[in-house]
Symmetry: C2
Subunit: 421 residues, 2 copies
C-alpha cells in the first residue's frame, strides 16, 4: 500500500471507531479519561525515557523549542491533571435545541452530535498529543494525530499509553491514531481525506496554518495568529491604562493574544509616553514608534527605541516589541485596525461609553475588549474549561474553541407517515 | 491589472462595503429589499429582453436547463415576491447570547454578526442572482456572485437593477458585485481570496462542489448532493409506507432530497412489492432491485425492472430510478446507510419505537426521519423562511441553511482596566 492508501485505511478505521464513540454515554468517556490519567502517571518512567531520546536528538532546536519538548515527572503530572479536568467538563453531546412542531404535525429538533473524525497537525509539543486526544474522545470524536518529528519517540510512548487505556476501557483502539512517519507526504494525504475526516485543526505557526489552507479539502480551523491592538482613547484613564498595556505586552510575549500595536489618541500621547516608558524600559521592550511618539520617547531617553517602519504594523511580533501609532481620532484607530488586525483580539481603553460601543460594534475580531487586556482571549479565561484552538476564521467557531466546537448537530424529524404537500 | 489583481480589488471593495453593511439597522435593509422588489417588477421588459438573448443562444442546452434559464413576467413576479419574503424574515444580526460575568469582574457575551463577504458560485439559474443577493444583504453581508455563462445577459440586467436599487437606498454599490467574465480563471482567483472573502457557497452539481473543495482556500459550504435512503422496518405499516415512498421518489425526482435507495426488511419484502409496484409503475419509475426483490417484482411483471448493479447503491439518480435492497435486520440497514449515504436525508418507516430511536441516533446525516418523506429537507419546510444551501458537511451549518448560516459571532468583553492574573 502506498501512503494514500494507508492513510485512507486509517481514515476508514477512524470513521468506524467514530460510529461507536458517538453512542458512548458520558460515564464511559469519563471513566476512560480517569483511567488514562492514572496510566500516564504509572508509565512516567517509560515516557521520560522516550522523551530523553527526543531531547538528546534535538540539538538543532533553540532553547525555547527544547524546553517545550522536554517532559519531566512534574509535567506528566500536569498533563494527567489536565485529562482529569477534561473528564470533569460537561459533555456537550446529546443537547436538544430548536424543538418545534411543523405543519403536517412533524416534530423536529436539532441534537448536538460529535463531528466524527478530527485530524490534528501540530509541532513539537508532546502535551498536545494527550490534550487533543482527550478533548476529542470526550466529545465523542475519533482523532488522527500528527505530531512533529522532534517528538517522535515521546509520541510513540504516549500512543502506547493511549492505546492501552482504550483497550482496558473496551473502546475501539482506532479511536485515537497517530501518524508516526515524519515524511510530509502523510500530511498531504491526511488533508485530502475528506471522505473520512470532518475537520482539520492545525496547532502551530502561520506557515502550518497556511499550508493546511492551501492543501486541504477538509474544513480547516485556522487561527492562533494574533496581530493584537489596544487603542488609548482621548480622555482615557492613563494611570489605569498602563498596567493593562503592560499585562497585554509583557506577561507572555510569545503567545497569540499578546499586544503588538498600541494606538494612541494624539491628545494623550505625551502623557502616556511618560507613564509607559519606565514600565516598558524595565521589561526591555523595544518600542517601534511612529514619528510623533518617537519624538516624545526620544526626549525621555527611551533605551530601546526605533522609528516604526511599514512592516511594524500588521506584524505579530511574538517578542518584547511594541509598535506605537498616533491617531487623530477614534475613526482613524478603527481604520487602522480594519486594515491591520488579524481578527484575533483588539481593545479600547476609554472612559467614553459611546466610543466603547462604537469600537465593539465596528471592530470585526473574534474578541473585542473594552478596558481589559487582550491576554484574556483563552478558553479557560472565557470559562469554557478547555481550549482546542483559537479560531480567527469566522465559520463554525470563532475565538477560543472548546468541546462544543468539536460537535455539530443533526435534524431529527418524526412524522406520522407524513408526505410533503 | 491581471485577473488576480482585479479579483483582489473586488474583494477589497466588498470588504469595505461589508464594514458599512454590518452597522445597518434592520429597517434600512428591509427598505432596500422592498425597493428592489419594486424595481424588478418595473424593469421586467428590460430583464426579459436580456433573458431572450440568453435563451436564444442556449440551443446546446437540454430542455430542463433551458427551462431553468427562461424568465417570464410571472417568474420575475415570483422572484420579487421572494425578495419581499426575505424582507419579512427576522434579522439574525445583533442577537446576544451566552452572557456571563467572569472572574476579575469581566462582562462577556457573544453577539451575532454578519460573516462579512460571501462568494457564491452557481450555474444557469437567474433566480439565484437575486435570491442570494437578497439573503446576503438581509444578513448584513456583501456578496460576490458568479453565475453561469448561459445567463450572461440576464445577470447583467439583474445586476443593473441591483446596483440601481443600492444607489437609490444610499447603500454601497460594492455590497453586491458580479463576476461577469465567463472565463473560469476568475473562479480560481475568487476561491483564493481568503483575505477578503469569508465563505464560499457553491450552488450546483457534484462537480462544482468538488471543484470548489479542491481549489478553495476559503471555507466552502458543500452540500446539495443527496443519496437518500428509506428503510422499511419489520412490522412497518406498509399501506401507510407506500405513499411516503411515492412522495419521496416521485414528487420531484431531480432534487437532492428525492429518494434513491429503498431498504426493505426481508419479512416485508413480498407484501411491500405487491403494494408498491402499481404505484411505481404508474409513474414509470425504473426499479433496480437486488436479487430477492427482483424475483418478487418479476413475478408481478413490473415493467421497468433491472437487476441492481454495484453502482446502483450510493448513487444520486436525480431521475425516476429507485434501487431496492433487502436486509435481514435493522443493523444491516444502518450499515448500508453508513457506507452509502451522502449524509443528506435518510429515514425509517417503522412502528417500533426502539428501532426509531436506534435509527435516529446511529444515522449520521443532516436530517434523519422517522415515518416521514425525505422531501421535507428544505429551509422553507423546516420553518427557516429561506434556504441558502443544504449543507452536507458538518461545520458551521448542517442541512438546510438560512440567514443564521450567513452570520458568525464575536466575543465582546468589558472590564475595569482588567489584567489577566
Amino acid at each position: 500500500m502506498d501512503v494514500n492508501q494507508r492513510m485512507e485505511h486509517m481514515g476508514k478505521q477512524a470513521q468506524q471507531a467514530a460510529r461507536q464513540l458517538r453512542h458512548l454515554p458520558r460515564e464511559a468517556k469519563d471513566r476512560f479519561l480517569q483511567h488514562l490519567a492514572q496510566r500516564l502517571e504509572a508509565e512516567t518512567p517509560a515516557i521520560l525515557a522516550a522523551n530523553a531520546r527526543d531531547t538528546e536528538a534535538a540539538t538543532h532546536l533553540d532553547a525555547a523549542m527544547r524546553d517545550r519538548l522536554q517532559l519531566t515527572a512534574e509535567r506528566i503530572q500536569g498533563i494527567a491533571a489536565d485529562v482529569r479536568n477534561v473528564a470533569n467538563l460537561a459533555d456537550p453531546v446529546g443537547e436538544v435545541f430548536d424543538e418545534r412542531t411543523l405543519p403536517e404535525n412533524l416534530q423536529i429538533y436539532r441534537q448536538r452530535v460529535p463531528l466524527g473524525v478530527v485530524g490534528v497537525i501540530y509541532e513539537a509539543r508532546p502535551n498536545v498529543t494527550i490534550d487533543i486526544a482527550a478533548l476529542c474522545l470526550k466529545s465523542g470524536n475519533a482523532s488522527i494525530l500528527r505530531g512533529g518529528k522532534e517528538t517522535y519517540y515521546t509520541n510513540q510512548a504516549l500512543l502506547k499509553v493511549l492505546q492501552q487505556a482504550l483497550q482496558d476501557s473496551d473502546l475501539p483502539t482506532h479511536a485515537i491514531q497517530l501518524i508516526e512517519d515524519p515524511d510530509r507526504q502523510w500530511v498531504h494525504a491526511l488533508l485530502r481525506l475528506d471522505r473520512y475526516v470532518d475537520m482539520i485543526i492545525p496547532r502551530g505557526g502561520a506557515g502550518l496554518h497556511r499550508f493546511c489552507l492551501e492543501n486541504s479539502t477538509i474544513p480547516v480551523i485556522t487561527g492562533g495568529i494574533g496581530v493584537c491592538h489596544l487603542y488609548v482613547d482621548q480622555g482615557a484613564d492613563l494611570t489605569a491604562a498602563v498596567p493593562v498595556i503592560e499585562n497585554a505586552k509583557i506577561q507572555r510575549p510569545t503567545v497569540c493574544n499578546a499586544l503588538d500595536t498600541l494606538l494612541v489618541h494624539e491628545a494623550e500621547l505625551e502623557a502616556l509616553c511618560s507613564l509607559l516608558a519606565p514600565v516598558m524600559a524595565k521589561a526591555n521592550v523595544a518600542l517601534h514608534a511612529d514619528e510623533k511618539a518617537y519624538a516624545h520617547l526620544q526626549q525621555l531617553n527611551y533605551p530601546h527605541l526605533q522609528k516604526a517602519q511599514a512592516e511594524d504594523f500588521g506584524t505579530e511580533f511574538l517578542a518584547l516589541i511594541l509598535s506605537i501609532k498616533t491617531v487623530p481620532h477614534l475613526e482613524a484607530a478603527l481604520d487602522h485596525i480594519a486594515a491591520y488586525s488579524s481578527g484575533h483580539s483588539d481593545g479600547i481603553l476609554t472612559q467614553n461609553q459611546a466610543h466603547a460601543r462604537r469600537f465593539q460594534q465596528d471592530v470585526d475580531s473574534a474578541a473585542v475588549y473594552v478596558n481589559a487586556s487582550t491576554r484574556f482571549t483563552d478558553g479557560a479565561q472565557f470559562g469554557l474549561g478547555a481550549e482546542v484552538a483559537v479560531s480567527t476564521q469566522k465559520l463554525h467557531a470563532r475565538g477560543p474553541m472548546a468541546l462544543e466546537g468539536l460537535t455539530t448537530y443533526k435534524w431529527l424529524i418524526t412524522g406520522h407517515n407524513s408526505i410533503r404537500p
